[in-house]
């Protein structure tokens, strides 16, 4: 089936839904690199106008990546909940945008709708939405998850403490962790990106974080972000693993390039559940995604990078994750060129994930070869705070000395909390108060008054 829209004397024709979706996407370098972007600004608008007319139900018939060719498509189609879809089944993509922004679309309605949405429908409507639409609609989505604390309550923001070190040095990792905790960060997870994938070194990192959380009775969870196969092996050998991590993408071929498939994720999920380490809930998967990953693995099937990204969320939601985040500016300027593209993509990913029922965080970040700087990150951070982002990253001084990119700092989390009145996860907030690190209003206190400082310092000096 082809699609058409006439503007004056020019008629724009789009041969496939895949082409229509790609050309309706706001401009970004990755779609140009893939050769799927609109050639002119008018063609892009014609595609949006034509896309607005497409019935949502049409996405069930016209699959962007064939059912036989891709297990993510099969997951999407086989898991589709027709009853949940019913309230919006008569709408076009444009009508769906109007409905989402209307008062009819209450938080309860959106929660009930999530299993009845295909990622492609969500991607489509996001392409017609302005940044402010992405903020308001995401804000209405309530996604709450639990392991040792509660993530995603309205008016709250959690932070992943990311204490990476270029040689995985235990004291170096502990020093950054201390810094973050004393700045009130770490409720989403204390999560290390390791350099090494040696089982012995990984085990030392899991034990270090486990000991820290137990010794100080911190209501949070740990994670070492290594390949899922390493985590399954480690669980068999008795590693104290809280969250099970994996990077995922929106096509079977892209996931294969990560060395994973859906069965491996299921095995890892069950291995994590078998440990029963959660105290207030059992959401234990942690997924990372990012626009451009399918293209960089040459596994995008001609589908635009934003739609591929939203398909990854179908993979994530199968495993009831505690945390999902899009590492939005990490991949580089050949996919998202500048601050404008990174900001747009961050808001899209957050909205699309939330609408599909995921606990979305965003790694608000950039590399030094992108046309972006701290001011762009400040903008995206405050926009995401307004949109109700579940969590952000916390890195000492925003400078990740292992991954060589800039993300958000512990100070940045203080900024967004103060500007928007956002509180910590409730259990973690109570712990910070007990440690005298925040006052009753959530305001950070002078760490010199807290007994946590000497105890954490001693822990750091003894780390190995």
């Amino acid at each position: 089936m082809s699609y058409q829209h006439s503007i004056g004397i020019r008629s724009h024709r789009f041969d496939t839904l895949r082409e229509l979706m790609a050309k309706a996407t706001p401009a970004r370098s990755g779609d140009y690199l893939a050769g799927v972007a609109a050639a002119t600004a008018e063609e892009r608008m014609a595609a949006k106008l034509a896309l607005a007319e497409v019935p949502l139900a049409h996405f069930l018939e016209d699959l962007l990546i064939p059912y036989e060719a891709d297990d993510v498509t099969r997951l999407i189609v086989d898991g589709f909940d027709r009853a949940a879809f019913a309230p919006v089944s008569g709408l076009s993509v444009g009508g769906f945008r109007d409905w989402l922004l209307s008062d009819d679309a209450t938080p309860a309605m959106l929660t009930a709708l999530a299993p009845g949405l295909m990622p492609e429908m969500v991607a489509a409507v996001s392409k017609l939405m302005r940044n402010q639409d992405l903020i308001l609609a995401a804000r209405k989505c309530r996604v709450t998850t639990r392991f040792r604390n509660t993530i995603g309550l309205p008016g709250r923001l959690a932070v992943r403490l990311q204490p990476n070190h270029p040689t995985d040095d235990p004291k170096g990792i502990a020093a950054s962790t201390l810094d973050g905790l004393l700045y009130g960060s770490g409720d989403a997870v204390i999560g290390i990106n390791p350099v090494s994938d040696e089982p012995g070194k990984l085990m030392a990192m899991w034990r270090l974080l486990d000991e820290l959380i137990a010794r100080f009775d911190i209501p949070t969870q740990s994670c070492v972000l290594t390949h899922v196969t390493r985590q399954i092996e480690a669980i068999e050998r008795g590693a104290p693993i809280d969250l099970v991590f994996q990077s995922i993408a929106g096509t079977e071929a892209a996931n294969k390039s990560f060395g994973i498939n859906l069965a491996m994720l299921q095995e890892a999920y069950e291995a994590g559940l078998s440990l029963k380490r959660g105290t207030v809930g059992d959401n234990l998967m942690y997924f990372e995604t990012g626009q451009g990953s399918a293209l960089s693995a040459n596994a995008h099937h001609g589908v635009d990078q934003q739609t591929c990204e939203v398909r990854a969320y179908a993979v994530a939601r199968k495993f009831k994750p505690l945390l999902v985040n899009t590492v939005v500016g990490f991949i580089g300027p050949e996919y998202l060129y500048d601050g404008k593209q990174i900001i747009r993509a961050g808001l899209e990913d957050h909205f699309c994930g939330k609408l599909l029922g995921l606990p979305m965080g965003v790694d608000v970040c950039y590399t030094n070869h992108a046309e972006a700087d701290q001011d762009d990150m400040d903008n995206l951070l405050i926009l995401l705070g307004a949109a109700g982002v579940s969590y952000i990253m916390g890195i000492p001084g925003a400078d990740d000395i292992m991954l060589n990119y800039q993300s958000t700092s512990f100070h940045d989390s203080l900024f967004v909390r103060e500007a928007l009145g956002l509180k910590h996860a409730p259990e973690f907030e109570a712990w910070l108060e007990r440690m005298k690190l925040i006052d009753a209003h959530g305001r950070l206190q002078d760490a010199r008054q807290s007994g946590a400082l000497p105890a954490l310092t001693a822990f750091t000096e003894a780390a190995q």
């Binding site: 020093a175 050949e334 800039q406």
Partner: protein, 259 residues
């Protein structure tokens, strides 16, 4: 900048900034810990320190490689030099189109075809994402390698601009070299704007993928020191020439090269 200005700033800073009394832990990590704060915000000195580091990283990406200067330095050390450029016309095109940075411009390819063929090795010095890395570390690395490569024939050094790693495949193929070695500026980190990478490929040809390469990364005075990197690269070259392959298939124990 006068000393008086710095003193004024320091005085203002100490008045309103809440220091973090765990600065001693900085000996365990180069991470930016214990920065202190004013209210919820970074102290002025930290905002400016970050700004300077970012400026240096940006310059590493955007300042063009000074090819005449590098050429003169190489020639002064008796290296003969050839210059080529990729199909990316400028830095903006280079950043947005990695595919263009992997291929030679047609005139550069024609030029290489006129040169003598069949050396064991060709070094391709590429600007990549850090001209700073190349300008400061490429020649010292080559000088350190030279005495380690006795008996290995080496083609003229190729200086490539707006170039990605894989450009060395086309260079090596056109020159009929058994191996191509790309010495290239790596993506600069905030604290490491001058990091050089070395990518070794046996039987270079257009279309090779990364699993056919061996990579030695973070070559810079504060990272992987030049002398040690040269030992490792030379050992890797000899292993690849002997095994007639490179990349993940090459069984090569780097720890033996350094002892």
């Amino acid at each position: 900048m006068s000393d008086g200005k710095i003193d004024t700033l320091a005085a203002n800073t100490t008045d309103s900034v809440l220091p973090n009394p765990w600065t001693a832990l900085r000996r365990h990590t180069a991470a930016r810990i214990a920065l202190g704060r004013t209210g919820s915000s970074l102290p002025t000195r930290e905002v400016l320190a970050f700004g300077l580091a970012h400026a240096q990283a940006r310059d590493a990406v955007h300042l063009p490689l000074d090819v005449p200067a590098l050429r003169a330095q190489l020639e002064a050390e008796q290296w003969s030099v050839v210059e080529v450029a990729s199909r990316a016309a400028d830095r903006a095109a280079y950043l947005a189109r990695p595919d263009w940075g992997r291929r030679l411009r047609p005139e550069a390819a024609e030029h290489l075809k006129q040169l003598p063929r069949d050396a064991d090795l060709v070094f391709v010095i590429s600007d990549g994402l850090s001209s700073t890395a190349v300008q400061s570390n490429a020649l010292p690395l080559l000088q350190a390698l030279k005495p380690l490569l006795d008996g290995v024939s080496i083609a003229p050094v190729v200086i490539a601009t707006q170039a990605r790693v894989a450009l060395a495949d086309e260079v090596g193929e056109l020159l009929g070299a058994r191996m191509a070695i790309s010495l290239i500026g790596e993506r600069p980190g905030l604290s490491s704007p001058d990091s050089l990478g070395a990518y070794l490929t046996y039987a270079p040809k257009v279309g090779n993928t990364d699993e056919a390469r061996n990579c030695i990364s973070n070559i810079r005075p504060e990272g992987f020191a030049i002398g040690a990197a040269a030992l490792l690269i030379a050992a890797n070259i000899r292993a690849a020439l002997h095994a007639q392959l490179s990349g993940v298939a090459l069984r090569f124990d780097p720890s033996k090269a350094l002892t």
